[in-house]
């Protein structure tokens, strides 16, 4: 362990500077965690500044308008928009302009040299019934840790739903079970045994064993 580097890190925390990286040892973690907890307790510094909030808003606005953002596939966009526009027309859906995205991600530059997940690290799919009705979305992230997040709207359904992941070799892996209340549910879990890049799709199965919906991950 380098006490000098540990001291420098703690000193930066105490004085409000960005701490420099170093290779910490496991026993350093407790000390650093406590230093962070003490620093976070200093009155009046936990809130974001107005310039930061507005500056980030401007950067995200430019990111959203960037022409380099890939468009969703036309066929699927048309199908999803049909559903959403029809729903909005019926007064049932507030967010009528939403579209399901396919591997969207082009990050805006930040003030740090942080690694922002690129498109290849995020994979998305849309849960659809056998007749093409959209029931939700699934997002898989390849990183450390990798994780999968999904949300579903299954009308008039209360109960458990099991998520099965399908990999490229055709195998199906039971990923987890979550509960849907009043039609709505969401589920997230870290993914350790399956490589995100090898995911082909996902399937939702009801408590009675019938398939609710399936999703195919966009390439």
């Amino acid at each position: 362990m380098s006490n000098r580097r540990l001291f420098a890190f703690v000193d930066a925390l105490a004085t409000g500077r960005r701490p420099k990286r170093f290779r910490a040892q496991p026993e350093d973690a407790d000390v650093l965690r406590t230093a962070i907890a003490l620093r976070a307790a200093r009155p009046g510094e936990a809130a974001p500044t107005e310039p930061f909030v507005e500056g980030l808003f401007q950067r995200l606005s430019e990111q959203a308008k960037s022409p380099s953002m890939p468009e969703p596939r036309p066929a699927r966009r048309l199908r999803v928009r049909t559903v959403l526009v029809a729903a909005a027309a019926a007064g049932l859906l507030v967010a009528g302009t939403a579209v399901v995205t396919e591997q969207l991600h082009h990050p805006a530059p930040t003030s740090a040299a942080a690694h922002v997940p690129q498109g290849s690290q995020l994979r998305t799919g849309t849960f659809q019934t056998t007749d093409g009705q959209v029931l939700g979305q699934i997002v898989a992230y390849r990183g450390h840790p990798s994780w999968v997040y999904m949300n579903v709207n299954v009308p008039q359904y209360d109960g458990t739903i099991e998520c099965m992941l399908q990999v490229d070799n055709g195998a199906t892996v039971a990923f987890g079970t979550f509960t849907v209340h009043g039609g709505g549910g969401q589920f997230s879990k870290t993914l350790s045994e399956v490589n995100v890049s090898q995911l082909r799709g996902a399937k939702l199965v009801s408590s009675t064993g019938s398939t609710v919906a399936a999703a195919t991950f966009a390439r």
Binding site: L6, D11, A14, T15, R18, P19, R23, A24, D28, A29, D30, L32, T34, A35, I36, L38, R39, A40, A41, R42, E45, A46, P48, T49, F52, V53, L56, R59, L60, Q63, M69, V83, A86, L92, V94, A95, T97, H105, H106, A108, T110, S111, A114, H115, D131, Q137, Y141, G143, H144, Y149, N151, N153, Y157, G183, G184, Q186, S188, S206, T208, S210
Partner: protein, 181 residues
């Protein structure tokens, strides 16, 4: 059940949804920042990590999801962003975000109420320490003194102040562990 033709073509969604990505941002930026600040303890990193969460999450975001679903998605993204931060910075997972317990940061009416636990916990830790240990940590972390100023205030050398701070932090870490999550 829910398969095939039993599913209505139009589905009713929770009224409690965001109307656009700006409302997602405005409703969550303060809360996410406070969460990140509590996990990294400095403004520069908290700002960068908050930026990274939004930059990552807004692309795949589906606005027809309920506010609860959007917040859960933001929190899972924040979990990954923070884990990557510590891996790059120290190679150790110093702090983490637990989507099950930290969702309160994004759902409470005011995130301040959640973070307000931090001063109380800091007081408990400090009160459990010997006087000199408590004083050096108060001077450094709560009163924003430099190591020189802290040494001068306590009437000791800078070298002694560094040793005292190191020992005090070690003991404080043990107290923190005893207090539990």
């Amino acid at each position: 059940m829910v398969s095939g033709g039993d599913v209505p073509y139009l589905h009713v969604v929770d009224d409690d949804v965001y109307r656009d990505w700006e409302s997602v941002y405005r409703d969550n930026v303060d809360r996410l920042y406070r969460l990140m600040y509590a996990r990294v303890g400095n403004r520069a990193d908290a700002e960068d990590l908050t930026s990274e969460v939004f930059s990552t999450a807004l692309g795949p975001l589906r606005l027809s999801s309920s506010k609860g679903q959007v917040r859960a998605y933001l929190l899972v993204t924040a979990q990954t962003v923070l884990a990557s931060h510590w891996r790059r910075r120290l190679g150790q997972p110093v702090t983490a975000i637990d989507p099950d317990t930290d969702i309160a940061y994004l759902t409470e009416p005011s995130a301040v109420e959640v973070v307000s636990d931090a001063p109380a916990r800091a007081r408990k830790i400090l009160q459990a320490l010997p006087d000199r240990y408590r004083r050096i940590l108060e001077l450094r972390f709560l009163e924003a003194c430099s190591i020189k100023e802290a040494a001068r205030s306590m009437g000791i050398s800078v070298s002694n102040a560094k040793v005292l701070q190191h020992r005090a932090l070690r003991m404080a870490a043990n107290v923190d562990l005893e207090l539990g999550p």
